[in-house]
Protein backbone atom coordinates (compact mmCIF):
# COMPACT_ATOMS: atom_id res chain seq x y z
CA UNK A 1 0.00 0.00 0.00
CA UNK A 2 3.03 2.22 -0.37
CA UNK A 3 1.96 3.73 -3.66
CA UNK A 4 -1.45 4.14 -5.14
CA UNK A 5 -1.71 2.63 -8.60
CA UNK A 6 -3.90 5.02 -10.53
CA UNK A 7 -3.66 8.71 -10.99
CA UNK A 8 -7.42 9.06 -10.60
CA UNK A 9 -7.17 7.67 -7.15
CA UNK A 10 -4.24 9.87 -6.39
CA UNK A 11 -6.16 12.88 -7.43
CA UNK A 12 -8.91 12.11 -4.99
CA UNK A 13 -6.29 11.52 -2.37
CA UNK A 14 -4.85 14.85 -3.15
CA UNK A 15 -8.13 16.69 -3.04
CA UNK A 16 -9.17 14.93 0.13
CA UNK A 17 -6.06 16.06 1.83
CA UNK A 18 -6.42 19.70 0.89
CA UNK A 19 -10.05 19.73 1.81
CA UNK A 20 -9.28 18.50 5.26
CA UNK A 21 -6.23 20.55 6.02
CA UNK A 22 -7.96 23.70 4.98
CA UNK A 23 -10.27 23.52 7.93
CA UNK A 24 -7.36 23.78 10.32
CA UNK A 25 -5.39 26.86 11.37
CA UNK A 26 -2.58 27.74 9.04
CA UNK A 27 0.42 26.07 10.55
CA UNK A 28 -1.21 22.81 11.45
CA UNK A 29 -2.19 19.81 9.49
CA UNK A 30 -4.14 16.91 10.79
CA UNK A 31 -2.46 13.59 10.79
CA UNK A 32 -3.38 10.40 12.50
CA UNK A 33 -1.14 8.81 15.04
CA UNK A 34 -0.26 5.93 12.78
CA UNK A 35 1.14 8.27 10.25
CA UNK A 36 3.87 9.45 12.53
CA UNK A 37 5.14 5.97 13.03
CA UNK A 38 5.75 5.01 9.46
CA UNK A 39 5.96 6.70 6.18
CA UNK A 40 4.60 3.72 4.26
CA UNK A 41 1.11 4.40 5.54
CA UNK A 42 1.01 8.06 4.89
CA UNK A 43 -0.83 7.76 1.65
CA UNK A 44 -3.55 5.65 3.12
CA UNK A 45 -3.91 7.78 6.17
CA UNK A 46 -4.00 11.10 4.49
CA UNK A 47 -6.64 9.74 2.23
CA UNK A 48 -8.74 8.30 4.96
CA UNK A 49 -8.61 11.39 7.09
CA UNK A 50 -11.62 12.69 5.35
CA UNK A 51 -13.64 9.67 6.30
CA UNK A 52 -12.15 8.99 9.67
CA UNK A 53 -13.14 12.14 11.39
CA UNK A 54 -14.42 10.32 14.44
CA UNK A 55 -11.11 8.75 15.26
CA UNK A 56 -8.97 10.83 17.54
CA UNK A 57 -6.50 12.70 15.41
CA UNK A 58 -3.50 14.48 16.73
CA UNK A 59 -2.35 17.82 15.46
CA UNK A 60 1.30 18.34 14.67
CA UNK A 61 2.95 21.50 13.43
CA UNK A 62 3.07 21.20 9.70
CA UNK A 63 6.66 22.27 9.31
CA UNK A 64 7.89 19.26 11.21
CA UNK A 65 6.02 16.84 9.07
CA UNK A 66 7.17 18.48 5.93
CA UNK A 67 10.72 18.42 6.99
CA UNK A 68 10.62 14.78 7.89
CA UNK A 69 8.89 13.86 4.67
CA UNK A 70 11.44 15.58 2.57
CA UNK A 71 14.29 14.01 4.40
CA UNK A 72 13.04 10.44 4.28
CA UNK A 73 11.75 10.15 0.78
CA UNK A 74 9.85 12.05 -1.86
CA UNK A 75 6.95 9.85 -2.73
CA UNK A 76 3.55 11.08 -3.75
CA UNK A 77 2.34 11.42 -0.21
CA UNK A 78 5.07 13.88 0.54
CA UNK A 79 4.09 15.86 -2.51
CA UNK A 80 0.47 15.97 -1.54
CA UNK A 81 1.39 17.34 1.85
CA UNK A 82 3.61 19.92 0.23
CA UNK A 83 0.77 20.56 -2.16
CA UNK A 84 -1.55 21.73 0.56
CA UNK A 85 0.96 24.27 1.81
CA UNK A 86 1.64 25.39 -1.71
CA UNK A 87 -2.04 25.72 -2.39
CA UNK A 88 -2.54 27.86 0.64
CA UNK A 89 0.29 30.11 -0.42
CA UNK A 90 -1.09 30.15 -3.92
CA UNK A 91 -4.57 31.11 -2.75
CA UNK A 92 -3.14 33.90 -0.63
CA UNK A 93 -1.20 35.19 -3.62
CA UNK A 94 -4.27 35.08 -5.86
CA UNK A 95 -6.38 36.84 -3.24
CA UNK A 96 -3.83 39.61 -2.86
CA UNK A 97 -3.72 40.26 -6.58
CA UNK A 98 -7.42 39.75 -7.10
CA UNK A 99 -8.24 43.09 -8.69
CA UNK A 100 -5.24 43.19 -10.94
CA UNK A 101 -5.56 39.60 -12.18
CA UNK A 102 -9.24 39.92 -12.72
CA UNK A 103 -8.79 43.02 -14.80
CA UNK A 104 -6.11 41.31 -16.81
CA UNK A 105 -8.48 38.43 -17.36
CA UNK A 106 -11.37 40.67 -18.42
CA UNK A 107 -9.03 42.45 -20.81
CA UNK A 108 -7.99 39.15 -22.37
CA UNK A 109 -11.61 38.11 -22.72
CA UNK A 110 -12.41 41.30 -24.59
CA UNK A 111 -9.26 40.97 -26.67
CA UNK A 112 -10.18 37.40 -27.58
CA UNK A 113 -13.67 38.56 -28.67
CA UNK A 114 -15.27 36.10 -26.30
CA UNK A 115 -18.68 36.61 -24.65
CA UNK A 116 -19.62 39.18 -27.28
CA UNK A 117 -23.27 38.69 -26.34
CA UNK A 118 -22.68 40.27 -22.95
CA UNK A 119 -22.07 43.87 -21.93
CA UNK A 120 -18.91 45.09 -20.18
CA UNK A 121 -20.64 45.38 -16.82
CA UNK A 122 -22.03 41.89 -17.08
CA UNK A 123 -18.66 40.47 -17.98
CA UNK A 124 -17.19 42.33 -15.03
CA UNK A 125 -19.69 40.97 -12.51
CA UNK A 126 -19.58 37.44 -13.91
CA UNK A 127 -15.80 37.35 -14.03
CA UNK A 128 -15.70 38.51 -10.41
CA UNK A 129 -17.93 35.64 -9.37
CA UNK A 130 -16.04 33.12 -11.48
CA UNK A 131 -12.74 34.35 -10.08
CA UNK A 132 -13.89 34.04 -6.48
CA UNK A 133 -15.38 30.63 -7.13
CA UNK A 134 -12.21 29.55 -8.84
CA UNK A 135 -10.08 30.46 -5.85
CA UNK A 136 -12.52 28.83 -3.53
CA UNK A 137 -12.17 25.59 -5.43
CA UNK A 138 -8.38 25.85 -5.31
CA UNK A 139 -8.62 26.43 -1.62
CA UNK A 140 -11.16 23.85 -0.55
CA UNK A 141 -10.99 21.30 -3.35
CA UNK A 142 -14.77 21.13 -3.26
CA UNK A 143 -16.39 21.87 -6.59
CA UNK A 144 -20.01 21.79 -5.46
CA UNK A 145 -20.41 25.55 -5.10
CA UNK A 146 -18.71 26.10 -8.43
CA UNK A 147 -20.91 23.48 -10.05
CA UNK A 148 -24.06 25.21 -8.81
CA UNK A 149 -22.74 28.58 -9.91
CA UNK A 150 -21.75 27.23 -13.33
CA UNK A 151 -25.24 25.81 -13.80
CA UNK A 152 -26.96 29.05 -12.92
CA UNK A 153 -24.52 30.98 -15.09
CA UNK A 154 -25.21 28.65 -18.01
CA UNK A 155 -28.92 29.01 -17.43
CA UNK A 156 -28.54 32.77 -17.75
CA UNK A 157 -26.23 32.89 -20.73
CA UNK A 158 -27.38 30.01 -22.91
CA UNK A 159 -30.55 31.79 -24.05
CA UNK A 160 -28.35 34.72 -25.09
CA UNK A 161 -26.44 32.60 -27.52
CA UNK A 162 -23.18 32.09 -25.65
CA UNK A 163 -21.33 29.17 -27.19
CA UNK A 164 -19.54 26.31 -25.50
CA UNK A 165 -16.16 27.38 -26.88
CA UNK A 166 -16.60 30.79 -25.26
CA UNK A 167 -17.33 29.39 -21.84
CA UNK A 168 -14.48 26.91 -22.01
CA UNK A 169 -12.35 29.66 -23.50
CA UNK A 170 -12.80 32.11 -20.64
CA UNK A 171 -12.06 29.49 -18.03
CA UNK A 172 -8.90 28.46 -19.85
CA UNK A 173 -7.97 32.13 -20.15
CA UNK A 174 -8.30 32.55 -16.42
CA UNK A 175 -6.16 29.48 -15.93
CA UNK A 176 -3.62 31.00 -18.24
CA UNK A 177 -3.68 34.40 -16.54
CA UNK A 178 -3.23 32.88 -13.11
CA UNK A 179 -0.53 30.54 -14.40
CA UNK A 180 1.42 33.45 -15.83
CA UNK A 181 1.15 35.37 -12.63
CA UNK A 182 2.57 32.37 -10.79
CA UNK A 183 5.43 32.08 -13.27
CA UNK A 184 6.20 35.71 -12.71
CA UNK A 185 6.21 35.34 -8.98
CA UNK A 186 8.31 32.20 -8.74
CA UNK A 187 10.54 32.60 -11.76
CA UNK A 188 13.65 32.78 -9.64
CA UNK A 189 13.08 29.48 -7.93
CA UNK A 190 12.41 26.69 -10.40
CA UNK A 191 12.10 24.05 -7.74
CA UNK A 192 9.51 26.01 -5.84
CA UNK A 193 7.67 26.86 -9.02
CA UNK A 194 7.46 23.18 -9.92
CA UNK A 195 5.87 22.44 -6.61
CA UNK A 196 3.46 25.34 -6.97
CA UNK A 197 2.45 24.09 -10.38
CA UNK A 198 2.01 20.58 -8.99
CA UNK A 199 -0.52 22.04 -6.64
CA UNK A 200 -2.09 24.42 -9.09
CA UNK A 201 -2.48 22.38 -12.27
CA UNK A 202 -4.72 19.54 -11.08
CA UNK A 203 -7.04 21.90 -9.28
CA UNK A 204 -7.18 24.23 -12.25
CA UNK A 205 -7.93 21.33 -14.57
CA UNK A 206 -10.66 20.24 -12.28
CA UNK A 207 -12.20 23.69 -12.33
CA UNK A 208 -12.10 23.88 -16.12
CA UNK A 209 -13.57 20.43 -16.32
CA UNK A 210 -16.38 21.25 -13.90
CA UNK A 211 -17.37 24.45 -15.66
CA UNK A 212 -17.36 22.83 -19.10
CA UNK A 213 -19.34 19.82 -17.94
CA UNK A 214 -21.88 21.97 -16.10
CA UNK A 215 -22.33 24.11 -19.17
CA UNK A 216 -22.85 21.16 -21.46
CA UNK A 217 -25.21 19.50 -19.00
CA UNK A 218 -27.27 22.65 -18.73
CA UNK A 219 -27.35 22.88 -22.48
CA UNK A 220 -28.54 19.30 -22.79
CA UNK A 221 -31.23 19.99 -20.22
CA UNK A 222 -32.45 22.93 -22.28
CA UNK A 223 -32.51 20.78 -25.40
CA UNK A 224 -34.50 18.07 -23.66
CA UNK A 225 -36.95 20.68 -22.42
CA UNK A 226 -37.39 22.07 -25.90
CA UNK A 227 -37.96 18.64 -27.39
CA UNK A 228 -40.66 18.09 -24.82
CA UNK A 229 -42.18 21.45 -25.72
CA UNK A 230 -42.19 20.61 -29.42
CA UNK A 231 -43.90 17.31 -28.70
CA UNK A 232 -46.54 19.13 -26.65
CA UNK A 233 -46.99 21.81 -29.26
CA UNK A 234 -47.42 19.39 -32.10
CA UNK A 235 -51.03 18.91 -30.99
CA UNK A 236 -52.17 22.00 -29.11
CA UNK A 237 -55.66 21.96 -27.66
CA UNK A 238 -56.91 25.52 -27.48
CA UNK A 239 -59.95 26.89 -25.75
CA UNK A 240 -61.58 29.60 -27.86
CA UNK A 241 -64.39 30.30 -25.52
CA UNK A 242 -66.29 28.65 -22.69
CA UNK A 243 -66.98 25.03 -23.62
CA UNK A 244 -65.40 25.31 -27.08
CA UNK A 245 -62.04 23.80 -27.98
CA UNK A 246 -60.08 24.07 -31.18
CA UNK A 247 -57.58 21.45 -32.25
CA UNK A 248 -55.63 22.74 -35.22
CA UNK A 249 -53.59 19.97 -36.79
CA UNK A 250 -50.74 20.85 -39.09
CA UNK A 251 -48.47 18.43 -40.92
CA UNK A 252 -48.54 14.73 -41.55
CA UNK A 253 -50.28 12.53 -39.02
CA UNK A 254 -48.79 9.11 -38.38
CA UNK A 255 -50.42 6.63 -36.08
CA UNK A 256 -48.20 7.65 -33.17
CA UNK A 257 -49.20 11.27 -33.52
CA UNK A 258 -52.83 10.31 -34.04
CA UNK A 259 -52.81 8.44 -30.76
CA UNK A 260 -51.24 11.36 -28.96
CA UNK A 261 -53.76 13.67 -30.55
CA UNK A 262 -56.68 11.58 -29.35
CA UNK A 263 -55.29 11.41 -25.88
CA UNK A 264 -54.78 15.16 -25.69
CA UNK A 265 -58.20 15.84 -27.11
CA UNK A 266 -60.00 13.56 -24.66
CA UNK A 267 -58.04 14.93 -21.72
CA UNK A 268 -58.68 18.46 -22.98
CA UNK A 269 -62.42 17.77 -23.05
CA UNK A 270 -62.32 16.62 -19.46
CA UNK A 271 -60.08 19.43 -18.27
CA UNK A 272 -61.89 22.31 -19.98
CA UNK A 273 -65.33 20.74 -19.66
CA UNK A 274 -65.80 21.19 -23.37
CA UNK A 275 -69.08 20.57 -25.15
CA UNK A 276 -67.90 21.15 -28.67
CA UNK A 277 -64.52 20.54 -30.27
CA UNK A 278 -63.53 21.84 -33.68
CA UNK A 279 -60.80 19.73 -35.24
CA UNK A 280 -59.24 21.67 -38.08
CA UNK A 281 -57.25 19.57 -40.50
CA UNK A 282 -56.68 22.21 -43.17
CA UNK A 283 -52.95 21.79 -42.62
CA UNK A 284 -53.01 18.05 -43.18
CA UNK A 285 -52.24 17.14 -46.79
CA UNK A 286 -53.33 13.52 -46.73
CA UNK A 287 -54.09 10.70 -44.32
CA UNK A 288 -54.02 6.94 -44.64
CA UNK A 289 -56.89 4.68 -43.74
CA UNK A 290 -55.49 3.78 -40.32
CA UNK A 291 -55.35 7.41 -39.31
CA UNK A 292 -58.74 8.07 -40.87
CA UNK A 293 -60.22 5.29 -38.78
CA UNK A 294 -58.49 6.71 -35.76
CA UNK A 295 -60.04 10.09 -36.44
CA UNK A 296 -63.48 8.56 -36.60
CA UNK A 297 -62.86 6.69 -33.36
CA UNK A 298 -61.79 9.93 -31.74
CA UNK A 299 -65.06 11.52 -32.77
CA UNK A 300 -66.95 8.60 -31.25
CA UNK A 301 -64.96 8.64 -28.05
CA UNK A 302 -65.57 12.36 -27.68
CA UNK A 303 -69.27 11.73 -28.00
CA UNK A 304 -69.08 9.17 -25.21
CA UNK A 305 -67.61 11.93 -23.09
CA UNK A 306 -70.48 14.20 -23.95
CA UNK A 307 -68.74 16.44 -26.47
CA UNK A 308 -69.53 16.82 -30.14
CA UNK A 309 -66.74 17.05 -32.66
CA UNK A 310 -66.84 19.16 -35.77
CA UNK A 311 -64.22 18.43 -38.39
CA UNK A 312 -63.25 21.26 -40.67
CA UNK A 313 -60.93 21.77 -43.59
CA UNK A 314 -61.19 18.30 -45.08
CA UNK A 315 -59.21 18.31 -48.29
CA UNK A 316 -60.64 16.50 -51.28
CA UNK A 317 -58.05 13.75 -50.92
CA UNK A 318 -58.94 13.14 -47.32
CA UNK A 319 -62.64 13.19 -48.16
CA UNK A 320 -61.89 10.60 -50.80
CA UNK A 321 -60.06 8.43 -48.27
CA UNK A 322 -62.92 8.65 -45.81
CA UNK A 323 -65.45 7.66 -48.44
CA UNK A 324 -63.24 4.82 -49.67
CA UNK A 325 -62.91 3.25 -46.25
CA UNK A 326 -66.66 3.60 -45.80
CA UNK A 327 -66.86 5.79 -42.73
CA UNK A 328 -70.33 6.18 -41.31
CA UNK A 329 -70.82 9.79 -42.30
CA UNK A 330 -73.89 10.28 -40.14
CA UNK A 331 -71.59 10.39 -37.14
CA UNK A 332 -69.19 12.88 -38.67
CA UNK A 333 -70.07 16.52 -38.45
CA UNK A 334 -67.95 18.07 -41.16
CA UNK A 335 -67.89 21.72 -42.15
CA UNK A 336 -65.92 23.33 -44.97
CA UNK A 337 -63.61 25.69 -43.19
CA UNK A 338 -62.61 26.72 -39.69
CA UNK A 339 -64.85 29.79 -39.69
CA UNK A 340 -67.86 27.70 -40.62
CA UNK A 341 -66.86 25.19 -37.98
CA UNK A 342 -66.77 27.79 -35.24
CA UNK A 343 -70.14 29.21 -36.32
CA UNK A 344 -71.60 25.73 -36.23
CA UNK A 345 -70.05 25.16 -32.81
CA UNK A 346 -71.56 28.38 -31.49
CA UNK A 347 -74.92 27.28 -32.78
CA UNK A 348 -74.53 23.96 -30.95
CA UNK A 349 -73.54 25.79 -27.78
CA UNK A 350 -76.60 28.01 -28.14
CA UNK A 351 -74.47 31.13 -28.49
CA UNK A 352 -75.50 33.81 -30.94
CA UNK A 353 -72.87 33.73 -33.65
CA UNK A 354 -71.58 36.94 -35.20
CA UNK A 355 -73.65 36.32 -38.30
CA UNK A 356 -76.82 35.90 -36.31
CA UNK A 357 -76.05 39.08 -34.35
CA UNK A 358 -75.60 41.04 -37.55
CA UNK A 359 -78.81 39.57 -38.89
CA UNK A 360 -80.82 40.58 -35.80
CA UNK A 361 -79.33 44.06 -35.88
CA UNK A 362 -80.35 44.39 -39.51
CA UNK A 363 -83.89 43.26 -38.82
CA UNK A 364 -84.15 45.75 -35.95
CA UNK A 365 -82.94 48.52 -38.20
Amino acid sequence: MGRLPTSGFQKSLYIGCTARSHERPDNYAVTSRRRRRTNAHITLNVYSQVKRTKKRNSIVPLGTTLHRNRRRDRNSSGNSETGSVMLRELVAHLRENRTQLREEWARRITAGALLTAMSKEEIFSETTSVYDNYIEVLETGSVEALQAYARSLSERIIPRGVETHEVVGIVLLLRDVLGRSLFKKYQNDVDLMNRVLDAYEPAANRVANTVAVSFVQERERVIRQQQEAIRELSTPVLQVRERLLILPIIGMIDSQRARQLTEQLLRGIRKNRAKVVVVDITGVPTIDSVVANHLVQTVEASRLMGASVIITGLSSEIAQTLVTIGVNLSKMNAVGDLQGGIEEAERLLGLPSELAKVATQETKA
Binding site: L266, R267, I269, R273, K275, A301, L304, M305, G306
Partner: protein, 128 residues
Protein backbone atom coordinates in the same frame (compact mmCIF):
# COMPACT_ATOMS: atom_id res chain seq x y z
CA UNK B 1 -71.80 -3.80 -5.20
CA UNK B 2 -75.27 -2.40 -4.99
CA UNK B 3 -75.76 0.87 -6.87
CA UNK B 4 -77.68 3.52 -4.93
CA UNK B 5 -80.41 5.27 -6.89
CA UNK B 6 -81.24 8.78 -5.70
CA UNK B 7 -84.27 10.82 -6.59
CA UNK B 8 -83.62 14.40 -7.61
CA UNK B 9 -86.80 16.22 -8.63
CA UNK B 10 -88.00 14.74 -11.86
CA UNK B 11 -84.81 12.79 -12.32
CA UNK B 12 -83.17 9.69 -10.89
CA UNK B 13 -79.44 9.55 -10.30
CA UNK B 14 -77.70 6.17 -10.21
CA UNK B 15 -74.20 6.77 -8.98
CA UNK B 16 -71.90 3.79 -9.50
CA UNK B 17 -69.53 3.49 -6.52
CA UNK B 18 -67.26 0.60 -7.50
CA UNK B 19 -66.61 -1.91 -10.25
CA UNK B 20 -69.78 -3.77 -11.19
CA UNK B 21 -70.32 -7.46 -11.81
CA UNK B 22 -72.78 -8.62 -14.42
CA UNK B 23 -75.30 -9.41 -11.68
CA UNK B 24 -74.94 -5.89 -10.29
CA UNK B 25 -75.69 -4.46 -13.71
CA UNK B 26 -78.85 -6.52 -14.08
CA UNK B 27 -79.88 -5.51 -10.58
CA UNK B 28 -79.33 -1.87 -11.52
CA UNK B 29 -81.43 -2.31 -14.64
CA UNK B 30 -84.34 -3.74 -12.65
CA UNK B 31 -84.01 -1.12 -9.90
CA UNK B 32 -84.14 1.72 -12.39
CA UNK B 33 -87.11 0.27 -14.24
CA UNK B 34 -89.02 -0.02 -10.95
CA UNK B 35 -88.08 3.42 -9.65
CA UNK B 36 -88.95 5.21 -12.87
CA UNK B 37 -92.44 3.82 -12.60
CA UNK B 38 -92.65 4.51 -8.88
CA UNK B 39 -91.49 8.15 -8.98
CA UNK B 40 -92.79 9.00 -12.47
CA UNK B 41 -89.30 10.24 -13.34
CA UNK B 42 -88.64 12.05 -16.64
CA UNK B 43 -84.95 11.37 -16.80
CA UNK B 44 -82.23 9.05 -15.45
CA UNK B 45 -78.55 9.80 -15.00
CA UNK B 46 -76.10 6.93 -14.65
CA UNK B 47 -72.77 8.15 -13.32
CA UNK B 48 -69.90 5.83 -14.29
CA UNK B 49 -67.02 8.12 -13.29
CA UNK B 50 -65.38 5.47 -11.12
CA UNK B 51 -65.41 2.71 -13.74
CA UNK B 52 -62.01 1.92 -15.26
CA UNK B 53 -63.45 -0.72 -17.53
CA UNK B 54 -66.71 -0.80 -19.43
CA UNK B 55 -66.96 -4.10 -21.26
CA UNK B 56 -69.35 -5.31 -23.92
CA UNK B 57 -71.84 -6.70 -21.45
CA UNK B 58 -71.93 -3.42 -19.52
CA UNK B 59 -72.35 -1.48 -22.75
CA UNK B 60 -75.16 -3.72 -23.91
CA UNK B 61 -76.89 -3.53 -20.55
CA UNK B 62 -76.61 0.24 -20.39
CA UNK B 63 -78.03 0.51 -23.88
CA UNK B 64 -80.82 -1.86 -22.96
CA UNK B 65 -81.58 0.21 -19.84
CA UNK B 66 -81.73 3.38 -21.94
CA UNK B 67 -84.12 1.87 -24.45
CA UNK B 68 -86.23 0.27 -21.76
CA UNK B 69 -86.57 3.46 -19.76
CA UNK B 70 -87.40 5.37 -22.91
CA UNK B 71 -90.38 3.04 -23.32
CA UNK B 72 -91.36 3.86 -19.74
CA UNK B 73 -91.16 7.57 -20.44
CA UNK B 74 -87.72 8.56 -19.18
CA UNK B 75 -84.60 9.74 -21.00
CA UNK B 76 -81.29 8.19 -19.98
CA UNK B 77 -77.91 9.86 -19.99
CA UNK B 78 -74.60 8.20 -19.13
CA UNK B 79 -72.13 10.59 -17.52
CA UNK B 80 -68.49 10.54 -16.52
CA UNK B 81 -66.97 8.11 -19.01
CA UNK B 82 -63.22 8.49 -18.60
CA UNK B 83 -61.04 9.42 -21.61
CA UNK B 84 -59.20 6.10 -21.62
CA UNK B 85 -62.40 4.14 -21.20
CA UNK B 86 -64.09 6.09 -23.98
CA UNK B 87 -61.31 5.36 -26.43
CA UNK B 88 -61.07 1.71 -25.45
CA UNK B 89 -64.83 1.32 -25.94
CA UNK B 90 -64.68 2.87 -29.38
CA UNK B 91 -61.82 0.61 -30.39
CA UNK B 92 -63.89 -2.40 -29.35
CA UNK B 93 -66.81 -1.05 -31.35
CA UNK B 94 -68.96 -0.33 -28.29
CA UNK B 95 -70.41 3.06 -29.00
CA UNK B 96 -73.69 3.21 -27.03
CA UNK B 97 -75.77 4.28 -30.04
CA UNK B 98 -78.96 6.03 -29.17
CA UNK B 99 -77.92 6.72 -25.60
CA UNK B 100 -77.24 10.23 -24.38
CA UNK B 101 -73.80 10.91 -22.93
CA UNK B 102 -72.43 13.88 -20.98
CA UNK B 103 -69.22 14.89 -19.34
CA UNK B 104 -70.32 14.78 -15.71
CA UNK B 105 -73.33 14.93 -13.44
CA UNK B 106 -73.84 18.65 -13.95
CA UNK B 107 -73.73 18.35 -17.70
CA UNK B 108 -76.05 15.38 -17.49
CA UNK B 109 -78.65 17.40 -15.60
CA UNK B 110 -78.31 20.24 -18.14
CA UNK B 111 -78.77 17.72 -20.95
CA UNK B 112 -81.98 16.36 -19.41
CA UNK B 113 -83.27 19.90 -18.76
CA UNK B 114 -82.66 20.77 -22.38
CA UNK B 115 -84.49 17.67 -23.56
CA UNK B 116 -87.42 18.39 -21.25
CA UNK B 117 -87.63 21.97 -22.51
CA UNK B 118 -87.56 20.84 -26.10
CA UNK B 119 -90.29 18.32 -25.41
CA UNK B 120 -92.42 20.99 -23.74
CA UNK B 121 -91.97 23.37 -26.66
CA UNK B 122 -92.72 20.58 -29.03
CA UNK B 123 -95.81 19.76 -26.99
CA UNK B 124 -97.18 23.32 -26.97
CA UNK B 125 -96.52 23.70 -30.69
CA UNK B 126 -98.35 20.48 -31.47
CA UNK B 127 -101.40 21.61 -29.47
CA UNK B 128 -101.44 24.86 -31.35
Amino acid sequence: MHVPVLKQGDYLIASVQAALTDADLLQLRDDLADRVGQFRSRGVIIDVTVLDVIDSFATRTLRAVAHMLKLRGAETVIVGIQPDVAFAMVQLGLTLEGVGTALDLEEGLAYLDRLAKRNRNHGTRSTN
